[in-house]
Symmetry: C2
Subunit: 347 residues, 2 copies
DNA sequence: CTGAAAGCGCTAACAA
DNA sequence: TTGTTAGCGCTTTCAG
């Protein structure tokens, strides 16, 4: 109940107060079963009275079980990244783990040492949220360095052999991307264009596959940055082309940029242009019109990544999915192709 | 250049290879000036050859300078929080600090011990991103506990005496809120309503002040959660009332919810309803119509918070602002009041 | 300029 | 069931 003391209280202070050895105190705070109830009670009382709290550095140094994860990522502001981080944090906290975060600059190229230096010490586990080249590279470095137990999250687009990849937690966005593309095709669109996020996208692969299956030559991918603004710029030409009637976007933000470009260009959505996003970010359902998108459970992925890590740390159990599969959520930015060339304005 | 060894290489391994004492190695990695250049070079060579990397736990334990901050927050997915975190991380990394993050559940009530337990050890510094009751409480606990150097970020709404609060980095959102309200009033609106985020808002205070100055009785505040969806629900009644011609929203997400509600209700923005948000989130400029909002430099606040912390840690220099002042950004969701009941569509 | 000694707070052996 | 003995890897002293 008492507040802070003038200087840190250690396990020895507690031991003295409780009249036991410091080792017994250690046992108590580590929930060791072999402590007499009476002793345990006494120690706990002392702990409470002194306001004792274990020093994590000392614990780690002394070789106790690992109790922290370092998360490597490039942009904590992106929806997917933020949600994944949140999921990791949730799971980590529930397991008494501390999470450190280290953000990499996507514009920079790091060598091995620089990546490894992000981790507090050899042997400390890490999770990398891999959504771009920089993080994918970091992931590879950590994988190679056998000193760090590592788990990565990302699409299966990472250019990595998935066989036996028991360290990758990924959403099958490739399949939904194909499904979304097919959905558009089935509505009569002659072609579907793709506005890409800056990463080797499995989403793009799914899109390509769906088009090819339909015997359509995929048009050149249009590249965008991660921001709405960059998507807007990138989409301007695209939406200006009346032959373009359907656009699949790398994520919701890009979709919003496209929608804005469409608005500026006077194209009616979904009247003569259909748009699909990825993420189902909180705004998607409340956009005007509500955005057709893919529900990606990033928070679940984050939780799953931590869970996998914990298993690897403890033994090596089989990873099991703990997230929802991506699903296409049809709202109001998609429609049949035939209404093309309708004049501006809503009905 | 070499990859990982089978087991961690310590300062002693380096010392042996370089033919010096481990103490000299310590001096080198701590940039001590009193090491002969030749010795330094030899040590650095050994470090490189062995791929040595200092163990942070050991460093901390041994009483070296503090090199980590714990960030306490409730929701890393909110725009403001995410940006602040980003700013902290930027500054921290630039200074060789590690950032730990610990998220609190806004729905839970923590006692002192639970808050303190979030920090790795006594004496470790913390930054709390205080945007709601839970985090404000955490901030108070840490302030009281003299063992932790603490800095908080948040509006000046925290119900705290600002006098001498050299540990609070805040944006003057109260003043802009008043300015925004006045802006609306000056455009002929008879009243301005306020849709609040879940916190004791300085924004609300600014709004109240502006209304009172204009001799207008502030109407009851409408409360919303943090999500677009909750804002939508909360705003439904409000927008249904034709006497409501202007709404100031606690943040952009709420504004989007209001905009959607307005759309659903058939009210034209800005024709017969004006809406202002807070944040200038990336989407604001690309919404249809583009959102009038307040530019809040959260990233700068985060950087400033870290800077303040560093100063407190080192000596106690004066905190100096390192962020932009909030500014009203007029876009297209605001307009004069008199056009009320004008039919849909722009000029 | 460099080395030797001591110890940070804790856990992991080993005894008792 | 409990206590004792060693360190973990590093940074402080303090001597040379």
């Amino acid at each position: 109940m008492s507040a802070a003391e003038s200087r840190p209280v250690s396990i020895f202070d507690v031991a003295k107060l409780a009249g036991v050895s410091h080792q017994t105190v250690s046992r108590v705070i580590n929930d060791s079963p072999q402590v007499a109830d009476a002793t345990r009670a006494r120690v706990n009382a002392a702990i409470a009275e002194l306001g004792y709290r274990p020093n994590r550095s000392a614990r780690t140094l002394a070789g106790g079980a690992v109790r922290s994860v370092t998360v490597l990522t490039t942009d904590t502001s992106l929806y997917g990244t933020a949600e994944t981080l949140r999921g990791i944090e949730d799971a980590a906290r529930a397991n008494g783990f501390t999470v450190l975060i280290s953000v990499l600059d996507p514009a920079e190229t790091y060598d091995e040492d620089e990546i490894l230096a992000r981790i507090p010490h050899d042997g400390a586990p890490a999770i990398v949220i891999a959504h771009d080249d920089t993080t994918v590279r970091a992931m590879r470095v950590l994988q190679k360095s056998q000193t760090h137990t590592t788990v990565a999250t990302g699409g299966e687009h990472l250019g990595i052999e998935l066989d036996g990849a028991d360290w990758l937690v990924s959403l099958d966005d490739r399949t939904v991307a194909a499904r979304a593309t097919k959905y558009l095709l089935d509505m009569g669109h002659r072609n579907v264009h793709y506005l890409a996020i800056p990463s080797k996208a499995s989403r793009q692969a799914g899109w390509t596959a769906a088009l090819e299956e339909a015997g359509i030559e995929p048009s050149p991918v249009v590249h965008s940055g991660w921001t709405v603004g960059s998507a807007y710029e990138a989409a301007l030409e695209l939406v200006a082309d009346p032959d373009v009637t359907a656009i699949l976007c790398g994520n919701d933000d890009l979709a919003f940029g496209v929608l804005y470009a469409a608005h500026k260009t006077g194209r009616d959505v979904p009247g003569d242009l259909s748009v699909i996003g990825f993420d189902d970010s909180p705004l998607a359902a409340y956009h005007v019109p509500p955005l057709t998108t893919v529900d990606l459970d990033f928070r679940g992925v984050g939780r799953g990544a931590f869970e996998l890590l914990r298993q690897k740390l403890e033994s090596g159990g089989q990873p099991r999915p703990t997230w929802r599969s991506p699903e296409l959520i049809v709202r109001e930015t998609t429609g049949p192709a035939d209404r093309r060339s309708a004049p501006k304005g809503k009905p």
